[in-house]
Every structure is written in structure tokens, then in C-alpha cells.
Amino acid sequence: MTRILATASAEARIVLRNRWVAIAIAMMAVFSLVLSATGSAPTGALGADPLSVTIASLTSLAVYLVPLIALLMSFDAIAGEVERGTLPLVLTYPIRRSEILLGKFTAHLAALALAVAVGYGLAAGAAFLSDAGSAAGLPALLRLFWTSVLLGAAFLAIGYALSALARRPGAAAGLVIGLWLVMIVLYDLSLLAAIVADDGGWFTTDIFPWLLIANPADAFRLYNLAASEATAAAAGLGGAAATIAPLHALASLLLWPLVALTLAILAFRKVTP
């Protein structure tokens, strides 16, 4: 435990000094504020309180931004150590590779959680300023926060696994960007295309829901939107998605970080310093 904490505290200083924390916070804050500014317009029409509307927009934002920040933070974790030549020495210390990774994970996840908290906090503040009745949306905001942290955890771990597989920072950076495009953008697009082609058939009813929650980003979106059905419709997920129990989506969100971390540790074990 002390070894994990020792790695985590060193790593935390590194992310602070690399300005990663600052960049992540700035990204989250700017996008959250932009969303709450543009999102407040249709409030009256829908009859929802401003915070609930903001949460719906924040959910869509988080699906793109949280994985991106997590991957950018993690791609260098192992490949960078290999490149700089810092790995051999650490590996002669009485510390396990899994402990090194968990130390980095702790620091990165804390930085990510901080950025998300600042971003959502600002958006919530803006909503309260425009309507004090926004308190009704607070539980949903809290849920959005911790599911965002889970989503970030999944993508941090995926980033470590790719970093260990790539072994060079340049290659790792390419891999994570490619993965982000595939999992966040192309995945949904191809599912949509498949649904259109299937036209309400067997794929749409039996396979599609599982494919949807198999992707942590979609599971995250589903879980958060299931709670507020009005916004789920607005998000255009369609009827089929509504058949998925939120618990399944939550299970996917919880499993992904664990599975990805295990894979990352296995990949890291294969790295010769």
C-alpha cells in the first residue's frame, strides 16, 4: 500500500507540473460553461428546471470529453517510462508491476475527478443562478459525476494497456486517438447504420442493446439518460435502447475499469525494460 501511495504521490506531482490537471480542468470548465449558456434557452419550452437540462447536455459532453482526457493522460504512462529509460531502475525495487500501475491510476483518476468536479460544479452554479429551483436536479448531477469518474477509470486503464502494447509514446498516442475515434464516434455510427439496414429486425431487438452497453461510453450515456426519460428521447437513442435495464448499463460501467486494468497489468508484465 505504501508503495502504491509513493508512486501515486510522485505521479500526482508529475501531472500537476505537466499542466495536465490545468488543461483537463480548463477543458471541462470551458465546455461546461458553454453548454450551460446555450442550454438555458429552451428551458421554458420544455418546462424542466435549468439544471436538468444542463445535465442532459453535460452527459453528451462527457461521453466525448472524459474518455479523451483519460486517454491523453494515460497513453504515456508506460511507453514514456520505457522511452525515458526510467523503468529498469524502478523494476529492481521491491514493487510489483501491478502496484506501479495502480499508483499511476490513483493519481490520474484523482486528477480527472477533480477536473470533472470543477466542470460540473461550474455548470451547476450557472443553473442555480438562473433558477433557484434547480435543486431537484442535484441527485442526477451527483450520479453524472461518479459515473463520469467510472467512465474515466475505464479509459485510463485502456490507455495504460495501449501504452504497454505500443512501448513507444508516439505509437501509443496514435493508438489512443484511433481508439477514441472508433469507440466514441465510429461505434455509434456503425450501430446506427446497422439498425437502419436491419429495419426493426432481429439485430435491433436482440443484439443491438447488448452491443450498446458493451461500449462503456454508451453504457454511461444510457445509465444517465435512463433516469430522466424526457431527455433520453431528446438524445435520440431510440426505442430499442430504452429496453436496456439501467442496471446492466451500470454493471458494464463497473466492469470495464476492472477488466481494462487487468489487461493493462498483463500487457505491462510483457514489457521488457
Binding site: T7, R17, N18, R84, L89
Partner: protein
């Protein structure tokens, strides 16, 4: 008591034999130098006995355990060839982290940095350090705890002459406390003076493993006698001693170790013609070239 035992260690990279059946031991309190040309396999050998890479064949025992095992890592300190640290951290933060990884109190960081002369720069980022300063951070971390075996890959590279001397003094203390030390170096003169035993690797093969005295005996290289003649008598001295080069003042002779006393007797017999005489034994460099050449010849046959 042996702290490190290697026998028949072989490592191949593809069809390149980086190490070929290497075997030797390092006892507690012993300082052993590993020397050899670039690419001889010194760093590879060290990485293998630290468990960083796997040997293709052979047996290794480190402090009674397998290389890289928890028990071994507990007792072994390492200084890598090009010690690298995260440039965003300060020397103090880096040392504190390594101390905690070894389960030691991080409060010792400052005194360790002080021991390697980095106290003033402790709170600056390692990114701003000079090469020698980074090397000292590496040394400081190798001193953490009471390692039973220190594996130091070119520990003095990048250090200034005074720091080198301080470094070897530090090694003497560690060895006196019972630590076994294996270090590699290209600086043969320091190795010659400050280590107990010398292991020479040549193209992955162990070609010598002995004390300096033992190596000298085995190599049986000629000894140089430098005779300074009285002014104007150099020619006479050279003639009397039958042979040897001379440059007007000094006469140079070489002889085998067995002939040394005989020759010295002859020189003493010249009495007033000679002002002084120096006996220059073959240096480690000569011995090293001898053994490397022997092995290269052996390979060619």
C-alpha cells in the same frame, strides 16, 4: 560467504551470443570490477542478475534467491548505465519516492543527497541537473537501506575527479560493512586501485577472473625498467645493459617477471653511472589488452 553466484550464464539475442557461459562469484565485502570493450556484455549481465531480462541458460543466485524475486530485490541496489529520472520531479522528491518504495523513512532523503553532494540542488527539478548531478541522484538511491549487493553500471561516468575519489571511499565503507559490490567501468586506472578482483569479459566470454596480482602473474607481461643515467652516461649505461632504448638521459628496458631481480642486480652493479631506477609493472590496460587479444585470437582459430 558468497552473495552472488553466476554459473554458465548464457544470453542470446537472436543468433547473437551476448553472453557465453559466464560464471563467477562475488562474496560479501568484496568489490569486483567488470571490465570489457563496448558491447562485451557487461550491462546485459547486470540486467540478468537483477532479473530485468531472462538469461537463455545458466544458474544465478542472488542473496540466496532467484534473480528478480521479491527476496532478491529486497537486498539488491542498482545503478543503471544511464540513470534516468523523471525531469519534472526534484531530486528530493525522487529520493523520497525511492525511500518509500524500499519501506524506509522518506526523511532520510536529504541526508542521502547530502552524502552525494547534492544538498544544495535538492529542491531543483532533475530536468535542470547536469549529467554528473543526475548520476549522483542515481548513486544516492543505490545507497538506500543496507543493500547486501550493489550492482553499479559505470558508476563514475560523468563524475568529476574529486567526486570519483569520494565515490570509491564510499564504496570502501559499504564493503567494510559487508556489502558485495559489482561494478563495471572503462576507467581502468581507478578500477586497478580501488577494487579487490577483476572480471574481464570479451565478446560475451569471461576471459579472466582474478586479483590484479594474479592477473599480472598469469599474463606474464614484460616489466619495464626505467633507468635514469648520470648526465652524459646514458650511452655507457645502454651499452653495459646490452639493449634497451635510450633518449639521452633515460634508458628503457623490458624484462620478464622472472628476470626482474637479475636485471635490477646488474643495474645496481653499474654503481655511479646510474642516478635512479623505476620499476613499472604492466598496467591493467596492458593486462586487459593482453586478455582481450588472447580471446580474440582464440575465436579466430
Amino acid at each position: 560467504m558468497t552473495t552472488l553466484t553466476l554459473s554458465n550464464v548464457t544470453k542470446t539475442f537472436g543468433d547473437m551470443r551476448a553472453l557465453d557461459a559466464v560464471g563467477f562469484t562475488v562474496a560479501a565485502g568484496e568489490r569486483v570490477a567488470l571490465i570489457g570493450h563496448n558491447g562485451a556484455g557487461k550491462s546485459t549481465l547486470m540486467k540478468i542478475l537483477l532479473g530485468l531480462i531472462q538469461a537463455t541458460a545458466g544458474d544465478i543466485e542472488v542473496c540466496g534467491a532467484a534473480p528478480g524475486s521479491d527476496a532478491a530485490r529486497q537486498h539488491v541496489a542498482y545503478l543503471p548505465e544511464n540513470a534516468a529520472f523523471h525531469s519534472a520531479l526534484t531530486g528530493l522528491e525522487t529520493l523520497r519516492m525511492y525511500l518509500r518504495l524500499r519501506g524506509e523513512s522518506p526523511d532520510q532523503a536529504m541526508s542521502l543527497l547530502d552524502r552525494v553532494g547534492l544538498a544544495d540542488a535538492a529542491k531543483r527539478r532533475i530536468g535542470t541537473y547536469s549529467k554528473g548531478m543526475r548520476q549522483r541522484v542515481g548513486l544516492a538511491q543505490a545507497l538506500i537501506g543496507h543493500p547486501r549487493l550493489l550492482v553499479l553500471d559505470e558508476p563514475t561516468s560523468g563524475l568529476d575527479p574529486v567526486s570519483r575519489r569520494d565515490f570509491y571511499t564510499m564504496l570502501d565503507d559499504l564493503a567494510a560493512e559487508g556489502a558485495a559490490i559489482l561494478l563495471s567501468s572503462h576507467a581502468l586506472t581507478e578500477v586497478e586501485a580501488r577494487t579487490d578482483r577483476i572480471v574481464i569479459l570479451s565478446r560475451g566470454k569471461l576471459v579472466a577472473d582474478d586479483t590484479l596480482v594474479g592477473l599480472r602473474r598469469r599474463a606474464a607481461l614484460p616489466i619495464r625498467l626505467q633507468i635514469r643515467a648520470r648526465p652524459g652516461e646514458a650511452d655507457a649505461v645502454a651499452a653495459e645493459l646490452a639493449g634497451g632504448r635510450q633518449n639521452g638521459v633515460t634508458v628503457d628496458l623490458t624484462c620478464t617477471p622472472e628476470d626482474k631481480l637479475l636485471r635490477l642486480g646488474q643495474i645496481a652493479g653499474l654503481g655511479a653511472l646510474v642516478e635512479d631506477v623505476d620499476v613499472v609493472p604492466p598496467s591493467l590496460e596492458d593486462i586487459y589488452s593482453h586478455f582481450s587479444r588472447v580471446s580474440a585470437d582464440g575465436d579466430r582459430q
